[in-house]
Symmetry: C2
């Protein structure tokens, strides 16, 4: 009988490279819907569909972060993570990301009541976002935290998007505050989350968990755009009850 | 066949009276352990046992509040409720309630490491606190919010306690910051929570839910003191592994 050799964890550098490679291959900066957006090829109605559906994702982010808070007995983690909820919900002195996303939706010509009602969200978007909440609720803490690491890749995408939205859809200019805030917030958040994952995913198995959670999160972002593309670009078949362009 | 007559909800005033009556009858200001504390009849060791065990409750409060955040799709509720987590966990500029409770435990002569380890907590205290988390996690939102309404009764108890601790246990004087902060925080919190419950518990059934949740929460506070009294006052039988006076 031979024993199974123990797997060694990757070095910190190799583990980071593994995480970054996932982003390069699977983050939604490569999704055709985003490529069309950045080439100026989406109609106002398609951008409305995007803003309305992505609101559902935005609205669940503070819930996702509250689940992480509620699962942690580490006050240091809670203190750092609380910032994310404030960033999205705002406080007395500053509006939050949800409010900024509503401003973006309004810039596309939608009423905020219509967007906030969430009644015209695509089922496919809803399932993907709810899968994110379930991952964070039922996975390990390494999985819950690592699933946020898509923020590592957000900066480049958002910079490009802000330029291209300004260029191709100048009527959206008043709605870009969300992205401008995220350009500051996302790097702060991902620095903390990456450091946490590097310090807590120490075994080969935990590194696998973190990498798989990040991949799953990339899938979740991608699936939302698949649903949008199918419903509003090609073949452009929105299901019954969904937003109509 | 006669139909069952529909139950009418109480008026807002009567509903408030019902909630206050629960506090008068069942809040832990009446518990013999607290009475002994306030009469100066507890030993330093018994106060240590209290501080060490109640730390477990304190440490779970921001988790409880994060569960409530994670269950709410109402950004207004989340914004108001977030304050509670900041009050307990602190932030860059201000220490939080957990830290203040550790200072109280240190004033009794315990090391913070010993308290934070949670290794000597009474099982009965642990079960009661965990029951609180389960109530907030699995109950309705009315139950989750109403269970916080013990704060309505906290002000009077804390004022009395601060006076009596100063009088009878002057060596604890450096540890009273927790209570002094709660004297400001608890009324703010209970005002919001009571208003929320009055606006959301509109049917007779919802009023029952709120009242039962408040009663359950009183039981949870009471049960912690029962466990302390049994282990450290009479018959003074701490179970294996628990803190020893």
């Amino acid at each position: 009988m031979t024993s199974v050799p123990a797997r060694h964890p990757l070095s910190v550098d190799d583990f980071q490279s593994r995480l970054h490679k996932i982003g390069e291959e699977r983050y939604h900066h490569r999704h055709p819907f985003h490529l069309l957006m950045h080439e100026g090829k989406l109609t106002r109605g398609q951008l409305q569909a995007w803003a309305l559906n992505r609101y559902y994702y935005q609205s669940r982010i503070p819930i996702k972060d509250s689940i992480i808070l509620s699962r942690s007995t580490d006050a240091n983690l809670r203190r750092a993570w609380r910032k994310r909820i404030a960033d999205h919900d705002g406080d007395g002195s500053q509006v939050g990301g949800i409010e900024r996303w509503l401003a973006l939706a309004e810039a596309t010509g939608l009423s905020r009541e219509r967007v906030r009602s969430e009644s015209e969200v695509l089922p496919g978007v809803r399932y993907a976002v709810d899968a994110y909440l379930n991952l964070v609720r039922h996975g390990t803490m390494v999985e819950a935290i690592a699933s946020s690491l898509t923020e590592l890749f957000a900066g480049r995408l958002i910079s490009l998007r802000v330029d291209r939205l300004r260029e191709h859809y100048p009527w959206m200019r008043t709605g870009l505050g969300y992205f401008e805030a995220r350009l500051v917030q996302a790097p702060e958040d991902s620095t903390f989350a990456l450091d946490w994952v590097l310090r807590h995913a120490l075994t080969a198995e935990q590194q696998d968990q973190a990498a798989n959670a990040l991949r799953t999160k990339c899938d979740i972002l991608w699936a939302q755009l698949d649903a949008l593309h199918f419903a509003y670009v090609e073949p452009a078949w929105p299901p019954p009850g969904a937003f109509r362009v």
